[in-house]
């Protein structure tokens, strides 16, 4: 017989009564852990995106909404291709490169992909200049798994081939497209009635670029029958110049377009992250009150139900300190179990739901286990202290039939 045996036996004997309190603490911790986990990776993704793309400016049609940097050109509205020339011919300082794009949805073998027209040199130089990680690849650490970046030689090959030559009948195929259509280099494919040769399969990037087929801009313009238009121009700018008002200058140059920076695009995600942080704080407050009240209520009921048993233990020689320890150990076990359970379930939820809710890949955060167990144990102990003290002060006379 040990204190632990005494406490564990009682817990398992009356587990159904404990269930409500355990569930209250488990669910509370689960929600806190999952929100914290998703928020952490979402914030990290935004921060890295800002680091990598902070010097980029997007020129979009006025009607465009700002949601996803990588999908900014996929909203259907267009601006004249002539804007590219206007920018290129301007004397704006801080414009390092330009990359115009026109995108069309295409259906291949019953699946929908995006055909994106690019101007080879500008597109690829611009992309390559982002982070040195390779064309079309998302900057390392943006929430995408680094291990999924693909082979380096392929990226190099793709970059070298395209910079100089992207013929009208050549396409570069994103990793998802190649996977789903079973394409490999040098294959041919029909898109919108035109036959292309697959010049390269691009490495996985974790962005919508994986579901794209890249062809020459002018070919895509022909296939779209929209004339010399584009959906977006990526302007690779210079940080210092952006802070010196590059966006305003481009706006003055192109008054009919919307000129935005990555900061503005990320603003909505930052707001979501802030909301999730607040939500997590709110849940923390809720769990403290609801979970704490539930545990305290259960413990008071438990003390009342066990007063004869407590009295018996006292009659057998248990002192008040031991009785206090019996109830606090029970609270500790409840807290540790709720904390660990909440961490595990919360982490699984975050990993599964994170990509769907926040569009980021979420990995388990072992540090959150400490937070989960810490909050859970502290709450269980504080909520149980007064009931435990009441038990320790019980009158052992309750064990006898009459007084």
């Amino acid at each position: 017989m040990k204190l632990r045996t005494l406490v564990l036996r009682e817990i398992f004997e009356r587990k159904s009564q404990l269930l409500t309190s355990f569930l209250a603490i488990l669910l509370g911790i689960t929600v806190i852990v999952s929100i914290k986990n998703i928020t952490h990776y979402s914030e990290k993704a935004v921060a890295l995106e800002m680091d990598s793309l902070g010097a980029n400016v997007l020129v979009l049609p006025k009607s465009s909404t700002l949601q996803d940097y990588y999908a900014a050109d996929m909203q259907g509205d267009t601006i004249p291709e002539e804007y590219v020339t206007r920018l290129a011919m301007s004397d704006l300082a801080g414009l390092d490169n330009l990359s115009p794009k026109l995108s069309l949805p295409v259906e291949l073998q019953g699946k929908t992909f995006t055909l994106t027209g690019i101007l080879p040199k500008s597109e690829f130089q611009a992309k390559a200049a982002w982070s040195g990680a390779g064309i079309f690849s998302r900057p390392v650490g943006c929430g995408a798994s680094v291990g999924m970046m693909g082979s380096e030689d392929k990226k190099t090959l793709a970059r070298k081939r395209v910079i100089d030559t992207l013929n009208d009948n050549e396409v570069l195929v994103g990793a998802d497209v190649a996977g789903k259509l079973g394409l490999k280099e040098a294959d041919t494919m029909d898109v919108l009635g035109r036959t292309f040769s697959v010049t390269a399969i691009l490495p996985q990037t974790g962005t919508v670029d994986d579901a794209r087929i890249f062809a020459h801009l002018h070919v895509v313009q022909d296939l779209s029958k929209k004339g010399p238009v584009i959906n977006a121009i990526e302007v690779i700018g210079c940080c210092q110049e952006i802070s010196n008002g590059l966006v305003d200058k481009i706006n003055r140059l192109l008054p009919d377009a919307k000129v935005v920076t990555i900061t503005q695009i990320a603003a909505s995600q930052i707001n979501i992250n802030r909301m999730m942080s607040n939500l997590s704080l709110m849940f923390l407050v809720i769990i403290i009150f609801v979970g704490g009240a539930s545990i305290a209520n259960y413990m008071y009921a438990n003390v009342f139900e066990r007063r004869r048993e407590i009295g018996t233990l006292m009659a057998l020689g248990a002192n008040s300190g031991l009785v206090l320890r019996i109830f606090l150990l029970k609270a500790l076990i409840l807290g540790v179990a709720g904390g660990i359970g909440g961490y595990v379930i919360g982490t699984i939820l975050a990993v599964v739901l994170g990509p769907k809710l926040a569009g980021v890949i979420v990995l388990p955060m072992p540090l959150l286990a400490l937070l989960a167990v810490g909050v859970s144990v502290a709450l269980a102990l504080v909520a149980s202290y007064f009931p435990a003290r009441r038990a320790a002060r019980l009158d052992p006379c309750a064990t006898f039939q009459e007084v």
Partner: protein, 253 residues
């Protein structure tokens, strides 16, 4: 020796002053077997609680081996209980989620005995009360009589000098009651002091002395069947056992 000196106990119940004990005096020498009888509400259980250090008197003193029990704080009294006093209750008061063996181990755990020694002692005691084949049964899996036998084994766990029994046969059939009283006699013969509160005249008569309580005071005392007169006819062997057991207790102290 247990001693009560002019002990009184009053408390308020729904605004009215209730006198549970009113200047009770008693001396219970070591090795005595005393039955306390009296009508309901006469203060029997109050007296037993006071002897066990669980209910402080409003006036007077309770002494165990010349130590005034209520001069100790509650933890000191708890310590005294686990070392010197064994309780047995009418409703057995077994811990429902522990097995018979674990119930017997509780007092042993309280005095800090290690696990293996607890198990060995519990096995020895349960064998003594005839429950060696029920050691891993929970109280709900035992008959009423078996539950009381587990309680008797638990009572003896720490080899107490004083046994306080509160209506130990109150919930039992006559045959099992007989066995319980036999057992109390047996432990008394070993040299332990037994104080038993009971409503059952036949059980009370098995003690050496019968104290009658009424209105919170001891109003009469008479010898029981095992009292001085009754024991005169008992076998020499039994008396030898008493002497031997008393010697053993003295040596242990």
């Amino acid at each position: 020796m247990l001693k009560m000196e002019n002990v009184s106990k009053t408390y308020r119940h729904r605004g009215q002053l209730v006198t549970a004990l009113n200047g009770a005096n008693a001396e219970i020498p070591e090795g005595d077997f005393v039955s306390i009888v009296g009508p309901s509400g006469s203060g029997k259980s109050t007296l037993l609680l006071m002897l066990g250090g669980m209910l402080s008197p409003s006036g007077g003193r309770v002494l165990l081996d010349d130590q005034s029990i209520y001069d100790l704080n509650s933890d000191g009294r708890a310590c005294l209980r686990k070392q010197k006093i064994g309780f047995v209750f009418q409703t057995f008061n077994l811990v429902p989620y522990l097995t018979a063996s674990e119930n017997v181990q509780v007092p042993l755990y309280l005095v800090g005995r290690d696990n293996s020694s607890q198990q060995a002692r519990a096995e020895e005691l349960l064998t003594r009360v005839g429950l060696s084949d029920r050691m891993h049964h929970k109280p709900s899996e035992l008959s009423v009589g078996q539950q009381q036998r587990v309680a008797l084994a638990r009572m003896l766990a720490n080899d107490p000098a004083v046994i306080l029994a509160d209506e130990p046969t109150g919930n039992l059939d006559p045959e099992t009651s007989q066995q319980v009283i036999d057992f109390l006699e047996e432990v008394n013969v070993e040299g332990r002091t037994v104080v038993m509160v009971t409503h059952d005249p036949r059980a009370a008569a098995r003690a050496k002395r019968i104290l009658r309580l009424d209105c919170g005071a001891i109003v009469s005392e008479k010898p029981g069947r095992n009292g001085r007169h009754a024991t005169a006819g008992r076998s020499e062997l039994m008396l030898n056992r008493v002497e031997h057991a008393t010697d053993r207790r003295i040596q242990r102290r």
